[in-house]
């Protein structure tokens, strides 16, 4: 009895799936001919996130402004946070024979680089290409089919910013997520810089959004000021950090504008949309055949803007130098 019911269900399921497949392929075949002269670009992004989305959007907008929407096909792949899905997505791009891959974030870049040695890969929102791709003595050129933009803000300038605004600071706490490769690198650089200026640095790592509250609580007790690098988890949990640090009156310096908007006082902001646009301009040169990707150095965000969070600065009684502009203006 069960077997018959079972077989019935399976048969129906199979029929539905097959007819769906057929329908989709039929409609798709009709449009395929028109796509011959288009540039096909596969976009692999690790997860949905304000900064990453902005970079992808900037990339698309730059290309659309140059070539027009009907000469471009974007295949969006979002791995929903699973690094292994990046591999599936990039395998798909290679099978499709796309003209270029945009790898948004470190795992996406690694998966793309492992998938192909021939299709040009542009990375964005990747902090350190040398570390991500395990290249020894990295000098800005990968020498193979990978280039792109780095979201590394000038870390020493960020660290100096803390000293400029709080010259008497004794102990700085660095708050970051231990599961983000990018953050760990930034923490190291900022820590070294501050320690060279005789400031005591303590690091506070949280594993996920559940322990941010406790870790931040610990940090504000031990430190005069906090620094948060460009960190996806911290950015998406900035409200929690704010709810702990703001009542305690501990100022937070941020590596990135979105975090600063919610919990920080100042940041040396990287704009991910503009970073995406820069990546898009690199893509235009490549697609036009003006330059080979092997000869294209990694580009950095050229002029980060000094910004401050007016609301929190006013509340904490902190005055910032005149060259800082309020976030949102």
């Amino acid at each position: 009895m069960a077997v018959f019911v079972w077989r019935g269900i399976m048969k129906k399921l199979l029929t539905i799936i097959l007819s769906l497949l057929l329908a989709v392929t039929m409609t798709a075949c009709k449009t395929e001919v028109k796509e011959e002269e288009k540039f096909v670009i596969g976009i692999c992004q690790i997860e949905t996130h304000a900064a990453l989305d902005a970079a992808t959007q900037g990339f698309k907008d730059a290309l659309i402004a140059e070539f027009g929407e009907d000469k471009l096909v974007f295949i969006d792949g979002n791995a929903a946070g699973d690094p292994a899905t990046c591999a599936t997505i990039c395998n798909g791009f290679v099978a499709d024979g796309v003209d270029m891959i945009l790898a948004n974030s470190t795992p996406a870049l690694q998966a793309a680089a492992a998938a192909t040695t021939t299709i040009p890969i542009l990375g964005t929102s990747v902090t350190e290409y040398g570390v991500a791709l395990n290249i020894e003595n990295f000098n800005g050129l990968t020498g193979f089919n990978v280039s792109g933009t780095s979201d590394l803000a000038p870390l020493d300038e960020q660290a100096q910013m803390i000293l400029d605004i709080m010259p008497d600071v004794q102990v700085v706490g660095i708050l970051y997520c231990s599961s983000e490769a990018n953050s760990i690198y930034q923490v190291k650089v900022v820590k070294e810089y501050l320690e060279s200026k005789k400031v005591t640095v303590k690091t506070f790592a949280f594993a996920d959004s559940n322990d941010i509250y406790l870790v931040t609580g610990q940090a504000i007790e031990e430190c005069d000021a906090l620094y948060i690098p460009t960190d996806n988890k911290a950015a998406s949990s900035a409200e929690i950090i704010d709810s702990v640090a703001f009542p305690a009156g501990v100022p937070i310096f941020c590596g990135e504008e979105n975090t600063c908007l919610k919990c920080g006082i100042v940041s040396l902001a990287i704009n991910y949309y503009d970073l995406g646009v820069t990546t898009g301009q690199m893509a235009i040169k490549l697609l036009k055949g003006e330059v080979k990707i092997e000869e294209m150095p990694i580009e950095y965000f050229s002029n980060p803007v000094k910004k401050y969070n007016k609301e929190i600065c006013d509340a904490l009684g902190i005055t910032v130098p005149d060259d800082f502009i309020p976030i949102g203006e």
């Binding site: 077997v3 099978a95 499709d96 690694q110 492992a114 570390v131 991500a132 490769a181």
Partner: protein, 302 residues
């Protein structure tokens, strides 16, 4: 771009990844079906395997030896879960969650406190890589066959049979003079050893280990087991041998990834993937039980 030929070109990549996850699902099969407990250690031990393999390879260890080391470290994680479960009398599901939770920190330490470590396939000799999908499929099949053969042999030995007996009926096994606690610890160990080995394969295939790579491994593994069972139960209606069941797990893993490739090929937003997976697994887990209510005979174990 959504054409049938595209799908066909994309399939080999899905098969290669499916084989790796199928091997991982074999590890979960040992705890979930043979031992009849739910072991949630795997989300952690999969990452442990990946981390150990990549760190070994960076240190110049042969990639096959690196996998064997991962297997041994994976056994240790499973043994810890087993001991917490049997000696401290903590329910298996909770013991697994605890170990998996703790493994996060251990995995970070293994990877030298960085969240993501890469082994560039240009510089290191890797057993399998996305660069060469046909080779990855071949190696995946060979490793699957080795696993199935060894497991088939092992679960026919006295100790293996004792593990199966423990899973079938605790009290009966106890009455036969089997030390069921030891059997459980061994079962957890072997299961997680295989999961870690699969983690090592995955890390080599994608060229890096990431602290998040094991996230959801248990669900993918269960999906593979259940899809495999559905297939096998519709082909062999009167039951089948143990090695056929093991093979079905690998096939389940491949089918799961083919479904994934189809979803991506159809340009369905992959942010919805996890919901789809959860629904599919729930439906397949529930179907046999629903049949029973209608008066039919249960055709899937448990």
């Amino acid at each position: 771009m959504i054409t049938l030929s595209n799908l066909i070109y994309r399939l080999p990549g899905g098969v290669a990844q499916g084989l790796i996850w199928g091997i991982m699902a074999l590890g979960i099969y040992i705890t979930f079906r043979v031992l009849n407990v739910s072991d949630l250690t795997v989300d952690g031990s999969f990452t442990t395997g990946g981390a150990v393999t990549i760190m070994c390879i960076l240190a110049g260890v042969n990639p096959i030896l690196a996998l064997i080391i991962s297997f041994i470290v994976g056994i240790l994680t499973g043994v810890v879960t087993g001991l917490i479960h049997t000696k401290l009398k903590i329910p298996a599901i909770l013991a697994g969650i605890l170990v998996q939770f703790g493994l996060y920190s251990i995995n970070l330490h293994i990877m030298n406190m960085s969240a993501n470590v890469s082994a560039n396939p240009d510089r290191f000799n890797l057993l399998i890589s996305m660069r060469d999908v046909p080779n990855a499929i071949l190696i995946g099949i060979i490793i699957s066959i080795v696993h199935i053969a060894v497991l088939y042999w092992y679960f026919g030995t006295e100790q293996g049979s004792a593990i199966r007996a423990t899973g079938n009926n605790n009290n009966m096994a106890l009455a036969q003079g089997i030390n069921i606690n030891n059997m459980k610890v061994i079962g957890f160990g072997i299961g997680n050893g295989i999961v870690a080995l699969a983690g090592g394969l995955m890390a080599q295939y994608q060229g890096f280990a990431d602290i998040n790579m094991g996230r959801g491994a248990i669900v993918i593994g269960l999906a593979a087991i259940i899809i495999g069972e559905v297939v096998i139960n519709s082909i062999f209606k009167k039951g089948c041998s143990f090695y056929t069941r093991l093979t079905s797990v690998i096939i389940g893993g491949i089918l799961y990834y083919i479904a994934m490739v189809v979803i991506l090929w159809l340009r369905i937003d992959s942010n919805d993937l996890k919901l789809f997976t959860a629904i599919i697994v729930t439906v397949f887990l529930a179907l046999p039980n629903l049949n029973v209510k209608k008066g039919g005979k249960q055709n899937v174990k448990n």
